[in-house]
Amino acid sequence: MIELMLSAALVMFGLAGAIALIRIIIGPSLPDRIIALDMIGVILVSVVAVISVILNTRAFLEVILILAILAFISTIAFSRYIERGAIIERKRDR
């Protein structure tokens, strides 16, 4: 029963990833695409967690941490790009 639920969860994560990919392609504005990219990062973290539960292993937990870190940093970088136009500023305006 639990394996059926986990497999169904994987299928639904795949569907959610496909929908987010469609939103990235046809997204009307740039913030839509950024939110969809962040959502794909969260979906990847969830998929890795479910797969590590299915395989009954602990070897993928570093993958979850590193994916979360990279998704966080990329979301911050995109947000700064659409807000200020520059990724890394030379001098902060005070």
């Binding site: 070897a59 590193i66 870190i69 966080f72 911050i76 520059a86 990724i87 890394i88 500023e89």
Partner: protein, 140 residues
Amino acid sequence: MKINDVILHAVTKIVVFIIFTMAVYLFLSGHHNPGGGFVGGLVLASAFVLLFLAFDMETVRHAIPFDFKYVAALGAFIAVASGVGSVFFDAPILSMTHGYFVLPIFGETELATVTLFELGVALAVVGVVVTIILSIGEDI
């Protein structure tokens, strides 16, 4: 217009130390588990990139006062020196060794000279990645 980014600064000051801890864990677990100097160096570089993103370049340069090109050069030197050092013990170049020692807190611990090589690789990766991202990321 002055932009209010208090939340980003407050979160960054905490998350950077979590990423540093993750990098050190990955660096030290690289002998028997996934990880190692290259991955640890990449995670460490991502922590520096997060600092450069949240704050500006002058502040981080003032807080971390070393040039990352010299860090890359020092890492390459450490890696090559740990490889050449095995020549003086009548062994082929880049051959590594390990031994078991009894340390005060950790008990019996396996210490390997691969860690020196990995340290060089990690420093080289940090220096190169941060230099590349600063070169292509700064506004003109």
